[in-house]
């Protein structure tokens, strides 16, 4: 690990001024940043520890029915919060499907959003990587990993964003609240992570020195609670990143879909909102035919980046499966194996 100066500011203003120092990085729990520093992939000269900043560790219900989640809220506290479990059950299920209990106890909302790709060539300092060193080339192209992106990739970078949490956030129209040297602003979550194009190193909408302060879920996000699921296919049942994941949410009446939300994880450099598929579902008769059509629409532009045809079929099946499960109803309690397609059928599908 490189040498760095360590600061633990007590106020947001102080944090922002330290964060504006060249070579500075914000440190939350460190479960991603310290890992990358040990590998030499990240080499910040200044660490600004933001875990003690006041007011960022709260989950608040706003007067208009929106929910604001502070950037320092720990992943496990969020997944345990009674209001989150009631109104956004797929969000809790996605968090609980990620990492391990130990990591979730530490990991923060802001850090989860900002975590880097798990592309193994990105993490291997001996490999060429445009995301790590612009212009160096990309050793993942033609490499051993067939689990790379199938949507939105470029020949400069074929990596995926690894977060589970961000997938239902994308489906729920979450907004990222940001503070920075030039003031506060907000960005829709679906525009927060950048597709690589020719500049994969610029991976998010954050400008240098900017800090994520909160995520906001708009009032309408609570309207899907009875039919909301997250499903994740991984190489083992638990404690593994997604090969493909799906968040699906439905509102329907008399067998007709009023509104659908669909987002995919593990398929692109951003959590992938499938708006064309959502448009097809709206007004359609609830059932497998509509779900199959939606899956085809969601993957119409999918191309395997690295011989990963299997991933497209996996995504297609998981979309149908997750929509079927969402239609059947949100489980009353988060399943013992969250988001697992191998979980036993749930006892009760009546979510409050």
């Amino acid at each position: 690990m490189n040498r760095f100066d360590y600061h633990r500011p007590a106020t947001l203003a102080e944090a922002l001024s330290l964060g504006a120092t060249p070579g500075a990085a914000y440190l939350a729990a460190g479960t991603n940043l310290l890992d990358l520093m040990k590998l030499g992939v990240a080499r910040p000269g200044v660490l600004v520890d933001v875990t003690r900043l006041p007011g960022l560790d709260r989950i608040e219900r706003l007067p208009d029915g929106a929910t604001r989640i502070g950037a320092m809220v720990r992943n496990s506290d969020l997944a345990r919060d009674a209001g989150i479990l009631r109104d956004y059950p797929a969000l809790a299920e996605a968090i609980l499907a990620g990492a391990s209990a130990q990591l979730r106890n530490a990991a923060t909302v802001g850090g989860n959003l900002m975590q880097k790709t798990r592309c193994r060539y990105f993490q291997d300092m001996a490999s060429a990587c445009n995301r790590r060193s612009p212009g160096a080339g990309c050793d993942a192209v033609g490499g051993v990993d067939e689990g790379m992106a199938i949507l939105g990739w470029s020949d400069a970078c074929i990596a995926t964003h690894p977060s589970d949490f961000c997938v239902p956030l994308a489906a729920l129209d979450a907004v990222v609240e940001i503070a920075g040297p030039a003031g506060a602003r907000e960005v829709p979550l679906t525009a927060f992570h950048h597709l690589p194009g020719q500049t994969p190193a610029q991976d998010t909408a954050l400008a240098p020195g900017e800090l994520v302060t909160a995520i906001r879920l708009p009032p309408a996000a609570a309207g899907f609670r009875q039919h909301a699921r997250y499903m994740k296919v991984r190489e083992r049942t638990s404690y593994a990143f997604a090969l493909v994941s799906v968040a699906a949410m439905l509102r329907w009446e008399d067998g007709a879909i009023l509104e659908a939300r669909l987002a995919l994880g593990g398929v692109a450099a951003r959590p992938w909102r499938a708006t064309e598929a959502e448009a097809l579902l709206a007004g359609a008769a609830l059932g497998r035919d509509a779900f199959e059509a939606a899956a085809r629409a969601a993957l119409a532009d999918a191309r395997p980046a690295n011989g990963g045809e299997a991933k497209i079929e996996l995504a297609r099946r998981l979309i149908v499966r997750t929509l079927m499960l969402a239609a059947a109803g949100t489980p009353a309690r988060i399943p013992a194996l969250p988001a697992s397609p191998f979980a036993a059928t749930e006892e009760s599908l009546t979510h409050a």
Binding site: R3, D5, R8, D49, A101, Q102, A106, Y239
Partner: protein, 164 residues
């Protein structure tokens, strides 16, 4: 420049000075305080051998910057027993053959203590397996581990009934 750091480790308050901010909680415990119970398996959050409790919550000490938890109470496997009396989870691990080589065991035991305190897994073996999935055991002692956690939960529930 040195960095002051105060931690309560296994019940004892310690005022420390770090000459280097890069020290992880795991390296602090093992290399500087000679508490070698928490193990360094992967040093990357992937195995759970370094699990300790920070303010009662289980975390991976290898991915925790020591300075970042300034002021916290840290419990390692060395802090679980009361004198010669083992912690009920330790006893349960012995009774249920929940280890072979023992390398993962301190992390497993501390993780199990954290899991029981969280109080969410109950007596469902599937929830216990899932809740313990952050602790890898290369010897594959998983069967005994789940049995031990179940037994420790049951013992604790019985204890609570007695004192209630």
């Amino acid at each position: 420049m040195t960095y002051p750091l105060t931690l309560t480790i296994n019940g004892t308050a310690q005022s420390l000075r770090l000459d280097d901010p890069r020290v992880t909680l795991l390296d602090l415990l093992r290399e500087r305080l000679h508490l070698t119970g928490a193990k360094k398996g992967c040093d990357r959050g992937q195995c759970g051998a370094c699990t300790v409790l920070v303010d009662g919550r289980r975390v991976n000490a290898c991915l925790t910057l020591a300075l970042s938890v300034d002021g916290a109470a840290v419990t390692t496997v060395e802090g679980l027993a009361r004198g010669e009396t083992l912690h009920p989870v330790q006893t349960a691990f012995i009774e249920h053959d929940a280890f072979q080589c023992g390398f993962c065991t301190p992390g497993q035991i501390v993780s199990a203590v954290g899991l029981i305190a969280e109080g969410e897994a109950g007596t469902d073996p599937e929830r216990i397996r899932e809740g313990m999935s952050g602790n890898i055991c290369r010897c594959g002692a998983y069967h005994g581990i789940v049995e031990a956690v179940l037994a420790a939960q049951a013992a604790r529930a019985a204890e609570e009934r007695k004192t209630a």
